[in-house]
C-alpha cells in the first residue's frame, strides 16, 4: 500500500497566551513553541501501522518553510520513507482550498493508494484541506476517521467515521481514497533514537509551486475562495444579566427577553 501523509507545523497554544501580531492577520509566534498538528500525528501513526501490517511506503508532505523540516523529520523518524516540503512565498495568504491545490499537485506526482491527513488543524481549525484534496484528486474521501481496516485484496478499505454522541458510521471504500484522521484512532508511538538518527540524514525534497506545475496565481490570496481580513479579540460583553428563580420562572423570563429582542 503506497501512502501519503500530510503534516502541518502548528504553534502549541495550550498553555500560552495568544496575541495578534502587528499585521492583524496572524499571531505573535516569537514566544510560542511549535509541534506537529495533533490529528496529523495520529495520521502518521495510522499510515505506519498499515505499512507495518501489510507493507508499502509512507511519503510525507508538508507546506511551510524550513522550520517544518522538524515535523517532517519526526514523521520520518517514526517510519516514513520519503518527504516533500512545499515552500513558496506565493502560498502566503492561501485558504484551505488553495493549500489543497498545492498538495494535490504534489500527490499527483506520486504513486498512491491512500492519502491521510489530520481531520482538523489545531491553529485555524478549518477541517477543509483533506476534503478539498480528495475532490481535486477526484477520489472518494471519508472525514473524521477513527478506524481503518484494509480489506483482504488491498484495493478496498473499511473505515469507521466518528459521529455525534459516540456513534460510528462504517463504510467500505474503493482505493485510492483520502481519509481525514481523527485524534484517538491509535496511540502514536515515540520515535526511537535510531529512527531520529536515520531521519536526520534523509533528504527532504523542496518544491516550489512552479515545480508542481501550478501558476502562482492559483494559490495565495488570488487562488483562494476565502481571504483572511483580520483577527480580532472577542468583544467583552457590556452587560450580563443573571436570571434568578426556579427553573420555570427563569425559563419564562428568558423567553420574554428573547421575544422582546425579536430573537425568536
Amino acid at each position: 500500500m503506497n501512502m501519503v501523509v500530510c503534516v502541518k507545523r502548528v504553534p502549541d497554544t495550550a498553555e500560552s497566551e495568544v496575541h495578534i501580531d502587528s499585521s492583524g492577520k496572524g499571531i505573535e509566534t516569537g514566544k510560542l513553541s511549535f509541534r506537529m498538528n495533533d490529528a496529523d500525528n495520529y495520521a502518521v501513526e495510522e499510515a505506519i501501522l498499515i505499512k507495518e501490517k501489510i507493507g508499502g511506503t509512507v511519503n510525507v508532505i508538508s507546506i511551510g518553510d524550513e522550520k517544518s523540516d522538524e515535523q517532517i523529520r519526526m514523521a520520518l523518524a517514526k517510519g516514513g520513507d520519503e518527504a516533500v516540503r512545499i515552500t513558496d512565498p506565493a502560498l502566503e495568504g492561501s485558504d484551505g482550498f488553495a493549500l489543497a491545490k498545492a498538495l494535490a499537485a504534489a500527490v499527483k506526482g506520486m504513486e498512491y493508494d491512500l492519502v491521510l491527513t489530520g481531520a482538523l488543524a489545531d491553529d485555524d481549525g478549518c477541517a477543509v484541506v483533506g476534503v478539498a484534496l480528495a475532490e481535486l484528486l477526484g477520489v472518494p474521501h471519508a472525514a473524521y476517521v477513527k478506524k481503518v481496516e484494509v480489506l483482504e485484496d488491498g484495493k478496498r478499505i473499511k473505515v469507521g467515521r466518528e459521529l455525534e454522541g459516540g456513534l460510528m458510521e462504517f463504510l467500505e471504500m474503493d482505493l485510492p481514497a483520502v481519509l481525514t484522521i481523527q485524534t484517538g484512532i491509535n496511540e502514536p508511538r515515540y520515535a526511537s533514537f535510531k529512527g531520529i538518527k536515520a531521519a536526520a540524514k534523509k533528504e527532504i525534497a523542496v518544491k516550489s509551486v512552479a515545480d508542481l506545475g501550478l501558476d502562482p496565481s492559483e494559490v495565495g490570496e488570488a487562488g483562494s475562495w476565502a481571504v483572511l481580513e483580520s483577527f480580532s479579540y472577542p468583544v467583552v460583553g457590556e452587560k450580563a444579566e443573571i436570571l434568578e428563580g426556579d427553573p420555570a420562572e427563569t425559563a419564562a423570563k428568558l423567553a420574554a427577553i428573547l421575544k422582546e429582542k425579536g430573537l425568536v
Binding site: 522538524e70 519526526m74 523518524a77 526511537s192 533514537f193 531520529i196 538518527k197
Partner: protein, 382 residues
C-alpha cells in the same frame, strides 16, 4: 559561535520531552508516594532506545553520543529525578564498565540486554567505610580454584535489587601492590549468586521510586572470567567511569532545576499578594532571574563537558566543574522555588517540595562537591 543543538538533538529532545509529559507526568505523584519501581516506564524507555543511548547499535545501544544521553537524562529529570537516576546509574555506571573494559563475550552477554532495556545494571563502589576515600575499600575477592570468593558490604547502590537487575559490578581488593598499596579490581556478580544478599530498599529523603540497596557478599563465588577489565586496574577504571557519570549527574541537576524553575515561574505569575502577581515584585522576579541564569550556565557547562567527551578530549576537570556547579545551583534553585511557593512549598502535594528533597543527593552522589573541588584544584596543579 552559536550554542545551538543540531536538528537530530532537537528532535531527540522533543521526543523525550513528549514521552516524559505524556507517560511520566501523570505518574509522578504515585511514584513519589508509593515508591514502587516503574517497570512499565523502564520497558517503554528500553523500546525507545533510552537505556543505552551512548553505546553502539551492535551492542544493543542507540548509537548516540554522550550529549544525546545528557539531554535525555535532563528531560527525564525535569519531571522525575527517580526515573532519571535509574537511567543514569544504569548507563553511566552499570553498562559502562562492560562497554569500556569488558571482553567481547561480556559485552554480548551483559551489555546487549542492558542496552536494550531488558536488564538493569548496577555498579558497587561505595562502602560503609569507603565513600570519597575509595582507596579504603574493604570488600575483598580472592582467587580460589578458578573462582573469585567475595566478602564485604556495599551501600547506596542504585538499581541493584529490581526484578530485572542482571547483577552488580563491584570493586574489591584482590591483593597488595608493590609498596603496600591495595590492588583493586572490578568483578561482576550476577543477581541470584549464592552468598550475595540484597537488603530491602532504603527509605530515602527523595527519589522514592528509584531502587537503592545495601549489598552483602559472604563467601560469594563467581567464575574467574567475571573480572571486568584488568586485574589491579579497578581504581583507574572507576575514575574514568566517574568522569562520564559526573556529566550525566550534572545533566540530571539541570533537569531538576528546570522543572522546579518552571513551577516557580508559573506560580509567580498566578499568585497574587497585595493585589498583584508576586512575580511583579522585584524580590521574587530577581530570584527567578538568578535561577534562569544559573540553569543556563549549568546547562552550557554540562553540554560542553559532554561534547568534549564525545570529541575524545580530556574532560575530567570540565566534568567535575559541571557536576559541582550544576548540583550546587540546583540546591539553591530548588530552595528558592520552595520559597516562592511560601507555605505551599512545604506541602508534599506541590512539585517544588519534591524537587527540593531530590536536590541534596546531587551534591553528594558520584563524588561530593568536596571531591569535585579536589579534582578541579588538582587539574590546576595545586
Amino acid at each position: 559561535m552559536l550554542f545551538e543543538l543540531d536538528e537530530e538533538k532537537r528532535l531527540f529532545r522533543s521526543t523525550v520531552r513528549d514521552f516524559a509529559e505524556k507517560v511520566i507526568r501523570p505518574r509522578v505523584e504515585e511514584l513519589w508516594e508509593g515508591g514502587e519501581f516503574p517497570y512499565d516506564i523502564v520497558r517503554q524507555m528500553g523500546e525507545m532506545g533510552l537505556m543505552g543511548i551512548p553505546y553502539p547499535e551492535e551492542y544493543g545501544g542507540a548509537g548516540g553520543d554522550y550529549l544525546a544521553y545528557s539531554i535525555a537524562v535532563e528531560e527525564l529529570a525535569r519531571l522525575d529525578g527517580a526515573i532519571a537516576i535509574t537511567v543514569e546509574a544504569h548507563t553511566s555506571l552499570g553498562e559502562s564498565s562492560f562497554y569500556y573494559f569488558g571482553t567481547e563475550e561480556q559485552k554480548r552477554q551483559w551489555l546487549v540486554p542492558m542496552a536494550q532495556g531488558k536488564m538493569l545494571g548496577a555498579f558497587g563502589l561505595t562502602e560503609p567505610e569507603a565513600g570519597s576515600d575509595a582507596g579504603a575499600t574493604r570488600t575483598t575477592a580472592r582467587l580460589e580454584n578458578g573462582q573469585w570468593v567475595i566478602n564485604g558490604t556495599k551501600c547506596f547502590i542504585t538499581n541493584a535489587g529490581t526484578e530485572i537487575t542482571g547483577g552488580v559490578t563491584v570493586t574489591a581488593v584482590t591483593g597488595t601492590k608493590e609498596g603496600g598499596k591495595k590492588e583493586i579490581s572490578t568483578i561482576f556478580v550476577p543477581n541470584g549468586t549464592p552468598g550475595y544478599t540484597i537488603a530491602p530498599k532504603y527509605h530515602k529523603v527523595g527519589w522514592h521510586a528509584s531502587d537503592t540497596r545495601e549489598l552483602h557478599f559472604d563467601d560469594c563465588r563467581v567464575p574467574e572470567d567475571n573480572l571486568v577489565g584488568v586485574r589491579g586496574q579497578g581504581f583507574k577504571q572507576f575514575l574514568s567511569i566517574l568522569d562520564g557519570g559526573r556529566i550525566a549527574i550534572a545533566a540530571l541537576a539541570v533537569g531538576q532545576s528546570q522543572g522546579a524553575f518552571e513551577e516557580a515561574l508559573r506560580y509567580a505569575k498566578e499568585r497574587k499578594q497585595f493585589g498583584k502577581p508576586i512575580g511583579s515584585f522585584q524580590a521574587i522576579a530577581f530570584k527567578l532571574a538568578d535561577m534562569a541564569t544559573n540553569i543556563e550556565l549549568a546547562r552550557n557547562l554540562t553540554y560542553k563537558a559532554a561534547a568534549m567527551r564525545d570529541a575524545g578530549m580530556p574532560h575530567s576537570k570540565e566534568a567535575a566543574m559541571a557536576k559541582l556547579f550544576a548540583s550546587e545551583a540546583n540546591m539553591r534553585n530548588t530552595t528558592e522555588a520552595v520559597h516562592i511557593f511560601g507555605g505551599y512549598g512545604f506541602m508534599n502535594e506541590y512539585a517544588v517540595s519534591r524537587f527540593f528533597r531530590d536536590a541534596k543527593i546531587l551534591e553528594i552522589g558520584e563524588g561530593t562537591s568536596e571531591v569535585q573541588r579536589m579534582v578541579i584544584s588538582r587539574a590546576l596543579g595545586l
